[in-house]
């Protein structure tokens, strides 16, 4: 049976040894392949570009890992990042660099709303976040008037493009710092362990006395917070906020999380794993760009990558019925 075979493949891939190695193999294959197609791919300039490009995805991927670890999902991460970018861009003329604050608060607020609605209304997270995605997209379009907002503010641009450490752009510093903090939270704190427990078996988690509702709200709030930071860093990097920025981000984020080793069935994997998944996806996007693959083809490739990553890692034994 096809599904049996897939299940076996998935079980095989989910084994520690394979999951740990597979993304690195993928990364190596992609790097070698793109280098052979276009040697410029491994030039210093391109590697710096690639790093800067990947940082927003690192934040949004980290953000997406919380709900996925719990076995939930947040489809609004891309819309949230876009919206917070727009909010920041609107505040820049008045408060300059402090525009980051209201933007991050908006991101955090929407994350909190996702969590609250999920807990209070007891709705599946994908439908809530589908709804809030539409709400955030609409708000972003409304605030921006549907077209990109350009700004010139050196202090704000410094957030991403300044250099604290050598020639490393700040965007890398902030993102990696946030990634390290949240990986630590995920691996070494009660919060992180509880998320894994909830994903592993919600009923058991509840019976063991974990306040599932509380941790669910916290997780979604963290997701929103990281999306807010991502939005700010993104617009600081490109010096404009576009209401259509996030279109590809959602697929990329889910793919990065899953390839990193956190399957959408939840309960295994971890936030720290998302880093390598982000590298794979960023190398893929950048490599396709460098190799001049048409953006339309890239859309298809991304869809196929997400679908196959999910198909080959999902723990079917945890889904009694597949709906």
């Amino acid at each position: 049976m096809a599904s049996n075979l897939l299940n076996r493949i998935a079980t095989f891939i989910r084994r520690r040894k394979i999951v740990d190695v597979l993304p690195y193999v993928m990364l190596l294959v992609l790097v070698v392949a793109f280098y052979l197609v276009k040697p410029i791919f491994l030039s210093n300039d391109n590697i710096l570009v690639l790093l800067a490009q990947g940082m927003v995805l690192l934040l949004v991927g980290t953000a997406s890992t919380f709900p996925i670890l719990m076995g939930s999902i947040d489809l609004s991460v891309a819309a949230n990042t876009t919206l917070t970018g727009i909010v920041a861009a609107l505040f820049i003329p008045n408060i300059g660099v402090y525009a980051a604050v209201p933007a991050i608060l908006v991101g955090l607020g929407f994350g909190f709303i996702n969590g609250m609605v999920s807990v209070k209304f007891k709705l599946p997270s994908f439908i809530i976040t589908l709804g809030t995605m539409s709400i955030m997209d609409g708000t972003g379009l409304l605030l921006s008037g549907g077209s990109p907002i350009w700004f010139q503010n050196e202090a704000f641009t410094w957030i991403s493009k300044g250099t604290i450490f050598g020639s490393l752009q700040n965007i890398v510093v902030w993102s990696v710092m946030a990634y390290i903090i949240f990986s630590f939270l995920g691996s070494y704190t009660k919060f992180g362990r509880y998320l894994v427990a909830i994903g592993g078996g919600e009923k058991i988690a509840k019976l063991s006395g974990i306040n599932v509702s509380k941790y669910r709200i916290i997780a979604f709030t963290f997701t929103g917070l990281l999306c807010g930071i991502a939005g700010v860093l993104q617009i600081s990097r490109v010096e404009s906020a576009s209401p259509h920025f996030g279109a590809k981000l959602l697929m990329d984020a889910i793919a990065a999380v899953v390839i990193g080793g956190t399957p959408v069935s939840g309960g295994v994997g971890g936030i720290h794993r998302t880093f390598i998944g982000v590298l794979v996806i960023t190398v893929l996007s950048n490599g396709l760009d460098v190799s001049l693959v048409h953006p339309y083809f890239q859309l298809i490739i991304k869809g196929v990558v997400v679908l196959s990553a999910v198909v080959f890692t999902l723990d079917r034994s945890k889904l009694a019925l597949v709906k």
Binding site: A2, S3, L6, N7, M70, G71, S72, I73, L75, V117, S118, F121, K122, L123, P124, S125, F126, I127, I128, L130, G131, T132, M133, S134, I135, D137, G138, T139, L141, L142, G146, E202, K203, K248, M251, V264, G266, H294, Y296, F297, Q298, L299, I300, I301, K302, G303, V304, V306, L307, V310, V311, L314, R316, L319, A320, L321, V322, K323
Partner: protein, 316 residues
Amino acid sequence: MADIVTRRKSLGIVIPVSFIAVLVLSFGSINPRFLSIANVYNLIRQTSVLMIVAIGATFVILMGSIDLSVGAIITISGIVSAIFVPKLGTGAIVAGVAIGGFAGAINGLVFVYGRVPSFLVTLAMGPILEGLALIICKGSPVVIKDMNFLKIASGKLMGNFPNIGIWAILIYCFFTFVAFRTRYGRYVFTIGAGEKASQFSGVSVRRIKIITFFVSGFLSGLAGVLFSARCQSGTARMGEPFILDSIAATVVGGTALTGGSGGPHRTILGVIIMGILSNGMNLLNVHPHVQIIIKGVVTILAVAATLDRSRLEFVK
């Protein structure tokens, strides 16, 4: 509380109908033009495409699954039919519908044999179809000039009643019949109400699931063809708003996301509500971007009010 109220049979119909009455009265009193015959025909033209998509979505939701690829299917079938119009004329309908049905069947096969939750399958199918559509149309709108083809949507076979409305009513009647008077239809309900129980009773769950996703793709394909005929062109992203609208219309009509209760006959109420909402907001000059926000809120509220929580062991 709320879910108990709306799921009671008698109240289930009363709430959407009274909601429609309130909307009609309030929009009508604010802007008398809302109740003119011209605007009623306008409303029919605007809602017919949604009606057809939502019928397909209803079957999928009745099973407890969901189809997030309807938007991309509408886009690709609209573009494909627009491209075939110069060669095939009215026969381009077939091309559009076929690609829709094909995409739906793929959804169903991956869903059933890959054992992947339907929202993920159809979420990933979105960019795949979207990318294909963009490649086919090379990123620019495909204009349709063939009058015969345009007439399948905008022509008038019966008095002043727009043809596109006739399509919607035919599809509505046929699939309501299918849902309640055929074995397939009843099986869709039983799968939604209890998949394991229906499997043990000998229902071929896999086959029904694949057929249902095919139906959803087929109807989205037809909707795409009609939409392109109405817009006189096939354009990229033309189907996007229908993802949320079709779910909202189904759920507002009274088919809970948990599956097993409701039915396509009720979806017409949801479609009318969504249609009146956007038509009325247009007449009141509500900004289109605000309308997107309002629809998001309506969807969440409708799902919250109708979901049968007793059937979800835990909510993910």
